[in-house]
Subunit: 408 residues, 2 copies
């Protein structure tokens, strides 16, 4: 018994980075290019479809970094200066009258003729309201020059940048009220497995609750995608074909569970008949079986059905694939090297992603690393990477991928 | 000139952790307790208002960890066994007929009477369809026992847990179709500063584009909050009072810019007259001035107006405050210790949060750390923490807070 494409226990495993490289290649071969112009407030989670070039200098004019007084340093001879104007942020100042100073507030434009701002703490207002300065002053002091941050024509954000609150704020500071972005990616999520029933129903003999679809639908929405919940595929070839056929407008069909089980694998049969199917056995734990294929031209990724396996393979493989489809360059998660707070005496033949936490600067791991439920992941704040064929003692460095980095 | 409460340059600065502790105390004094029952698919970003206790064992019955054959080890004497039933996942098996084996697939219930599953790779199907086993077998092998992951009555998630895709998936696996959660927090966001205009308009003399409101509105939405965009407050006391008065149903008024500038500070005047106002000078850079107060009983946090300062103070102070209002226990971001990829020759008197990246395992920083725009933050993937009164040479450890961890 050896279902098609599934190597036996002595079969070689595909390294995670090899699988990722292949998936990214396939993503690049079917890029999503349709774009739309959206108000700035609506672009969160989208990918920029244009280079964002600055059309202004920032700051647009020299401005004061402090609350204080603007003056020309050469005018200060020790004799108190008359305050000839008061400049709040948002006001356009008069040129500075020679031999005087201007009261000025943080962010306000420095008047022509002034070359210095002295902070108010170093200024004494006399009884006659003239101002005496108590410290030596230098030309340019406390002035933020025009264009210090950004000048006209500079590239600020490139095509392919994922847009979040920071990028939205940055675009706003350049006066952009709208941006060109890639349209929302449409992902259909389905489960296979006759043992699955929906939460809220009574559990019959042999049944378990479906959790992967909830996990993936919520995750895909966080990533800014349009999610089509395609339900549980029944164990029937005709229906499987019909249900898959309804998903012709999506960019990806994402399934979990069971493609490698030959006998009741109607999804696998449908893909082989009307598309293509590759089964990979990955050197990853939890994880291992991953399916990539097409149904009538629509890409299909089949993740393993154990919840922790679904989590890890989506985070490390499907998420980068989807981001790259949109043209995102930086698709891999942040990975920190931190000391292990545990021993790892037995080397494994697969790369392990343990659900762990950062505690006093060390990576500690959940006691039960079974892939069957998400308890370990809910407890965790990161995936702790232990390389294949490796033992560890406490204090050795391991990779740590924050879950927050892959969830958004 | 020294606006109320603002210490001079020799005044002592409040440490970040002191400010955070005070804010969290204030948050605990005005908890948001109203709860609602929501379908599981809608709880992303919410905070759990009930302890989630398991009402079932997971797995609910012993099940097979492999595709193979279930048998009683004692029945194996070397004589091939008849296959008396075939058990797919989702099926309720018959008790195992003594002296036979059952074909079984991953996830399927192990039949009563069987005490072992042998993987199919170690089984030979004879011409007469009986099965011969080629390796020694042990009781319990490849069986996931009932309740291995979770047993009835166990506490799975506590009150105060933030719910994301993983927690939603976990609740689904326990059969929960709905959860009790804290209602959405309502935050009004406003800007002050006569120099501000909205993106898309033409920039007049002395004006700059408002970016903080876009940043904060988008960020608050990502955090799962209800956002009221209260616009730019005009420089007029009557209007300021009226506009603040309209916000009586919010949980927090979040303002940026200008509360510490005395003369045109109508927000400050309104708070002093009809509430309360505390100005803190924080030992944080970018940042420093932070306002906490009330207007007719509604809490007000005033963040500094420079975009990078708004970002850092929201991430480190306002975000934890808001989470704690909802009863979240773990409110501080992840912080990794990583080697600095830069020198820091001049000690500062404030704790610096430099916008940095992880590159080859080291923290590198953006060349221009000005707080005036968000370019550094858009380039960055973390905040690099350099403690006050400290110098660094390359390779010394610094704190690194992933932006992804505070943005979600």
């Amino acid at each position: 018994m050896n279902p098609a494409g599934k190597p036996g226990k002595t079969g070689s495993l595909m390294a995670v980075e090899v699988a990722l490289a292949r998936l990214l290649e396939m993503a690049e071969a079917s890029p999503i290019r349709e774009r739309e112009r959206l108000p700035l407030a609506q672009v969160e989670g989208r990918v920029l479809a244009e280079d964002l070039i600055s059309t202004l200098d920032l700051p647009p004019w020299p401005n004061s970094a402090m609350d204080g007084y603007a003056l020309r340093v050469a005018d200060w001879t020790g004799t108190p200066l008359v305050v000839s104007q008061k400049i709040f942020a948002g006001q356009a100042p008069e040129p500075l009258k020679p031999g005087t100073c201007a009261r000025i507030f943080t962010g306000a434009p420095v008047p022509a003729g002034a070359d210095c701002v002295e902070m108010q703490e170093n200024a004494e207002v006399q009884a006659d309201e003239r101002v005496r300065f108590t410290e030596a002053m230098a030309v340019g002091q406390n002035i933020r020059p025009q264009g210090q941050e950004t000048t006209v024509g500079e590239l600020i954000l490139s095509v392919g940048t994922r847009l979040g609150p920071i990028e939205q704020g940055l675009a706003a500071s350049l006066g952009r009220a709208e941006l060109e972005v890639i349209r929302k990616v449409r992902v259909a999520v389905l489960s296979t497995g006759d043992e699955l029933i929906e939460p809220g129903q009574a559990l019959g003999p042999g049944q378990i609750y479906n959790s992967n679809r909830v996990l993936l639908c919520s995750w895909l929405q966080r990533l800014g995608y349009e999610v089509i919940d395609a339900g549980i595929l029944p164990d029937n070839l005709e229906t499987t074909r019909a249900r898959l056929g309804e998903l012709k407008d999506v960019d990806l069909i994402l399934s979990t569970g069971g493609v490698s089980v030959g006998e009741a694998d109607f999804l696998g049969i449908a893909l082989r008949e009307e598309g293509e199917l590759t089964l990979w056995k990955l050197g990853i734990k939890p994880g291992k079986p991953l399916t990539f294929g097409h149904f009538r031209g629509v890409p299909v990724i089949g993740l393993p059905g154990n919840p922790a396996s679904t989590l890890v393979t989506f985070a490390l493989l499907a998420r980068p694939y989807l981001l790259r489809r949109q043209g995102v360059k930086a698709v891999e998660p942040l990975k920190f090297q931190v000391p292990a707070g545990f021993d790892w005496p037995k080397p494994g033949n697969r790369r392990e992603y343990l659900r762990g936490r950062l505690e006093n600067g060390r990576a500690i791991i959940y006691k039960n690393q079974s892939s069957g439920v998400l308890r370990s992941a809910a407890w965790a704040d990161g995936l702790v990477e232990v390389l294949e064929d490796r033992t560890l003692i406490e204090g050795d460095f391991v990779g740590f991928i924050p879950l927050s980095d892959v969830l958004g």
